[in-house]
Symmetry: C2
DNA sequence: GTTTGACATTGACGCAGCGTCAAGGTGTAC
DNA sequence: GTACACCTTGACGCTGCGTCAATGTCAAAC
């Protein structure tokens, strides 16, 4: 069976312009040119076009497709088997994305909440490997033991850099709090700097900051025994001190 | 949680350039600009970006995404439900494509054959509806009864125009054959024109034409009872006449 | 025989969606 | 202080075609 541009275009679902372009860049030349200059495609060109479209579907550039297919060691069947695998990967990712959309629907209806990280699941391409194999592992090896990970803080929201920044900020906060406590003055410069650091640290975990919530959290550090024990561990009275400093910082007394 | 360009980029798996571009075309503006001119994104921008990427995944242009999302009647949840459906469609198409690749593998190993039409299954996007609902139905209503459809001719290879052309050619062939038969001369002008028409008709079904095969087919018209009955239906002896004409035309006597 | 209409051809320009420099300001860590 | 990683705004370039425009071809219809 022989095809003109339009016939082949309709068969394959592409435009004649696309076929002209493929001829131009030398990725798919017609079998022959007839006496009137028309492009005539044959059976092998049909098969070649199919391969090209397979690769295109996988997102490869035409340049690379050309390179691959003109490689003398190119093995059609082998390539197809690889295609199949890649397509199965793509299917998995699509299923992830569908799951994501379903979660987002549930979240928009208030039936559940999503971390920012979860919101982009299935939208990133290859990062899934890197993220989970390399990144995820390293992170867990480095920081896996920290108790803060077991708290209600949603660290999954963060990229590695953010994680490092927030832990650094946490260290700074602890040091500043310890020093400030020694001054005994919750209104003093050091204590107010501590309160500011606490706010910064908090902003990593809260989508919206407001003074009332900040002061409320500070009060909870005193009321909730788990928090109180944590802050008072080295220097008893620290939880109250931090609360006072924050109440002064925010200008909010409950 | 607040994000700078790079942090948001890493979260969503896109480049900072992309975020700048989205700002430039007004599809995703940062929540605010800090004192140094840095773009700062907030929670609602994260959600908005997610929506944008959902739409982008479906292949919409940024222009249309902007249009849709800035529409005051835009309903997020409703859009998500539509997203889900489209993604399921996409998944179906992907499964089709995978099936196609598997078939192609089988075909390359000689375990089966594929029509040209089948080779592009799953690569065309929306045509599946149109083709099967409209086109396929009409065709079948028009030509469904023709016995030629039940023969070994792979009509599925053709687009509608090709189908029409080949049936027209078939009509022409039958008429010419009938007239030529009346002359009684297989070497005559009419008979030779008939043989030529037969060749043309044949070229729609064979990927490669050669005289020997043509003559062989002509012989089969006489030897195979099904074909003989078909051609001799109106004028007995037509099958032999056509064979003789073709043998003269091709210069091949078996 | 010519005219119509659907096909084909080769340019050429344009567009989306960024990638990729360049030249410079910012901010924090050692 | 200085190194370094981040941010900014241009500006140019690239891919993969869409979309004219101007022109030639061919089968069918008048």
């Amino acid at each position: 069976m022989e095809y003109t541009v339009q016939k082949l275009g309709k068969l394959a679902g592409i435009s004649t312009r696309t076929l002209r372009y493929y001829d131009e860049i030398g990725i798919l030349k017609p079998a022959r040119i007839n006496s009137s200059g028309y492009r005539i495609y044959g059976q092998s060109e049909v098969n070649c076009l199919q391969q090209i479209l397979f690769y295109r579907e996988l997102g490869l550039s035409l340049e690379k497709i050309k390179e691959i297919m003109s490689d003398p060691s190119f093995n059609g069947t082998e390539a197809l088997i690889k295609h199949r695998e890649k397509l199965l990967d793509k299917k998995k990712q699509l299923e992830l994305l569908i799951e994501n959309v379903e979660k987002t629907i549930a979240s928009s209806e208030g039936r559940m909440t999503m971390t920012d990280q979860e919101k982009f699941e299935g939208l990133k391409q290859k990062l899934i490997d890197d993220n989970e194999k390399q990144y995820g592992k390293e992170i867990r090896e480095k920081y896996g033991e920290e108790t803060v990970n077991q708290s209600n803080i949603q660290l999954k929201n963060m990229t590695q850099e953010q994680y490092e920044e927030v832990t650094r900020l946490g260290d700074e906060l602890r040091a500043a709090l310890s020093e400030a406590f020694k001054t005994g003055d919750p209104a003093g410069e050091l204590a107010q700097k501590t309160a500011d650091l606490h706010k910064q640290w908090l902003c990593f975990h809260w989508s919206e900051y407001n003074k009332e919530a900040h002061a409320g959290l500070a009060q909870m550090y005193v009321d909730d025994d788990r928090f109180k024990q944590h802050y008072d561990k080295d220097q008893p009275g620290t939880a109250e001190f931090l609360r006072d400093a924050i109440q002064i910082y925010t200008g909010t007394k409950l």
